[in-house]
Amino acid sequence: MYKILKKEELAPGVKLIEVHAPLIAQKAKPGQFVILRVNEKGERIPLTIADINLNLESIIIVFQEIGKTTKLLGKLREGEKILDLVGPLGTPSEIENFGTVIGVGGGVGIAALYPILKALKEKENYIISILGARSKNYLIFKDKIEEISDEIYLATDDGSLGHKGFVSDVLKSILDSGKKVDRIWAIGPTIMMKVISELTKPYGIKTIVSLNPIMIDGTGMCGGCRVNIGNKTMFTCVDGPEFDGHLVNFDELLLRLKTYKEEEQTALKLLEEGEGSKVVSK
């Protein structure tokens, strides 16, 4: 059992939990993830490690409440426990002194981007961050990323903060300004990573994306997380989760992500109805 030491709501429906997990905390590197199972009947879901607290031997996870499992996770209070937690999984990010690195983060992907940029900063890269979200309330980790960035740009769909529009607009204007950029990390919704990868391809700048397909075991055993990288089948859990965005077949991934859409809605509906009946029975 893995105890929740701290919990915060970062934005509406976006939560941070700090979980006691000494073995994982000691080993985790930027870009890696964990798989957790909330309770006995729960599914196994992958979530990126957003930070580590070595003093408390804990890891920090940020997630958006979308499906049943993330909603159940969001209901757990400080002091309560998660049934299973395994990791760190996946291949760590390649952290080197590249020169100038742009980090593009969208939505909860910003939290996944943070440990990578932090490590890149420690390697003395010049860090340009571009963060985007629906509106300013959803720009999580803004202060933490600002702290480690040499330049930071914001974009919101509604224009409530920063540029009104997409992170890709901001990125394009930076690239067009002629600035020499050595590497780009883009982490966020799959469609955002697709757009960014398509945008950067003509510029010839290597663009790393962190994929989040459907996954079960996380150890290369089920093949459910297989993705098409340069026409080769790879397993996100062991070969990734980071891949060269210019080689990813995003269209296939976007289709595969919809596999259980119906089932996800059924589970969610039952959860909400279940809650409704509980309220009534009180």
Binding site: L23, I24, K27, R37, K41, G42, E43, R44, K68, T69, L83, D84, L85, V86, G87, P88, L89, I216, D217, T219, G220, M221, C222, G223, G224, R226, V227, N228, T233, F235, V238, E252, L255, R256, K258, T259, Y260, E263, E264, T266, A267, L270
Partner: protein, 463 residues
């Protein structure tokens, strides 16, 4: 006395009924049936059957004890050699092992050794097992990687020898392939759990949610333990590498069976993990895993399930009994066909497979006749779900992080077969990670060999 040429039949659930449930197909011998079958054993002095048993159970002796109705002693006799008899009694390919060597085979069917093993194991489980007294302890600690048949056997044997043994399991539940792979109707999970409890009762500790190669490396284990046994299995599914393989509705057998067996997707939405079930399902492959997948798909409500296999039934690696069971349940066998590509719809769902007809040529290096494509024989076979069950290769996680272990080009660990020793000091290995996908019992045999070598290394070394 005249011996019956036939095995005493084992009662089974009616196929019409059993395809609607996940309950066990074979119901097991009653006392009377077990006694009847035990009487068939000739008690051969040279006991050829034992030669065919990878863990060397004293077969004539345990059958003699059954005859004398000493079921308690019969199970004790088996457990001298085998910690998981209720499992092996169900899933061993006895027809190619112990029973293949039975003298009775010369005049008819061999003694049903597997059914008798299962009978006494179930007899004990029903009344609660007895834990043997472990007499001496030493100060040596062993780490076992993986809690499948190889790991459980190695750990159980070492615990009996007096070692402190810790098993590390990547999943949240121990048992390996016995839990995630083999379906409930062939090996009920309560049986596996009971046998794991037995291994734990010998003093073995099992730590779940620990991935060796990630949470700890082999080198880190060697700092804390005197020896390490790697029984991590061959968990990575192979795919066909043909067009359309990532369409929605195409599963590896591992994924499909893990969803159903470990995550209980057949109980969705009571359990949260879903699984797709098509109306017309194609299962690619001819081994036990293909049969398990096909029969599972039927039970989950598929209207038609087709085995698509590139050789004939004769070359199928599946156990004969499993092929018979699958046919009884209505699985349709399409032989001498090989998939060329999968065809999907605009939403990304699989809708058909293009098959090419095959013919058989000369035997290849597996000893089976080689399938040869027939030119211009391709045709489109419509379906809406596919399970790829063409085998697995070892998981790459350990290879990525272990120094001085030697691997073959197939990713299996190189060992000395007589001892289970790897090329790395104090590290032993066995089971599918050494052989590639094989049987439960051969993995257990390898676990036993390694346990013995570990004992020799650690105890003789100091004496």
């Amino acid at each position: 006395m005249l011996v019956s040429k036939k095995k005493t039949p084992i009662p089974e659930q009616d196929p019409k009924e059993r395809i609607k449930n996940f309950d066990e197909v074979a119901l097991g011998y009653t006392v009377d049936l077990a006694l009847e079958e035990a009487e068939r054993c000739l008690q051969c002095k040279d006991a050829p059957c034992i030669k065919g048993c990878p863990v060397n159970i004293n077969i004539p002796e345990f059958i003699r004890l059954i005859r004398e109705k000493k079921f308690d002693l019969a199970i004790k006799k088996i457990k001298e050699a085998n910690n998981l008899p209720a499992t092996t009694g169900r899933v061993c390919p006895q027809e190619t092992q112990c029973e293949a060597f039975c003298t009775l085979k010369k005049i008819g069917e061999p003694v049903a050794i597997g059914r008798l093993e299962r009978f006494v194991a179930d007899f004990e489980l029903q009344k609660g097992f007895e834990t043997p007294k472990i007499e001496r302890r030493n100060d040596k600690r062993i780490a076992v990687v993986g809690s499948g048949p190889a790991g459980l056997t190695c750990a159980g044997d070492l615990a009996r020898m007096g070692f402190e043994v810790h098993i590390f399991e990547a999943f949240h539940e121990p048992g390996g392939v016995l839990i995630y792979g083999i379906p409930e109707f062939r090996l009920p999970k309560r049986i596996v759990r009971a046998e794991i409890e037995y291994v734990k009762s010998l003093g073995v500790k099992i730590f779940t949610n620990i991935i060796i190669g990630k949470t700890y490396t082999i080198d880190e284990l060697l700092k804390e333990y005197h020896a390490v046994f790697i029984g991590a299995g061959a968990g990575t599914p192979q795919f066909l590498n043909i067009a359309g393989e990532n369409l929605i509705g195409i599963y590896s057998a591992n994924e499909f069976l893990t969803r159903v067996n470990l995550m209980k997707a057949y109980k969705f939405p009571e359990y949260d993990t879903p699984v797709k079930i098509g109306k017309k399902v194609g299962v690619i492959g001819g081994g036990n895993v293909a049969m398990d997948s096909a029969r599972t798909a039927l039970r989950l409500g598929a209207e038609e399930v087709h085995i698509l296999y590139r050789r004939t039934e004769e070359e199928m690696p599946a156990r004969y009994e499993e092929i018979v069971h699958a046919k009884e349940e209505g699985v349709i066998f399409n032989l001498l066909v090989s998939p060329i590509r999968f065809i999907g719809d605009e939403k990304g769902y699989v809708r058909a497979v293009e098959l090419q007809k095959m013919t058989l040529g000369e035997p290849d290096n597996s000893g089976r006749k080689r399938p040869i494509p027939i030119p211009d024989s391709n045709y489109i076979f419509s379906l809406d779900m596919v399970i790829v069950a063409i085998g697995t290769v070892p998981n790459p996680l350990i290879a990525k992080t272990a120094n001085d272990l030697t691997f073959t080009k197939h990713g299996t660990i190189v060992i000395d077969e007589k001892t289970g020793k790897t090329t790395k000091e104090r590290v032993f290995a066995g089971g599918d990670i050494v052989t590639g996908s094989a049987t439960v019992i051969s993995a257990m045999g390898a676990g036993k060999i390694a346990a013995k070598s570990i004992m020799e290394l650690l105890l003789n070394h100091n004496s």
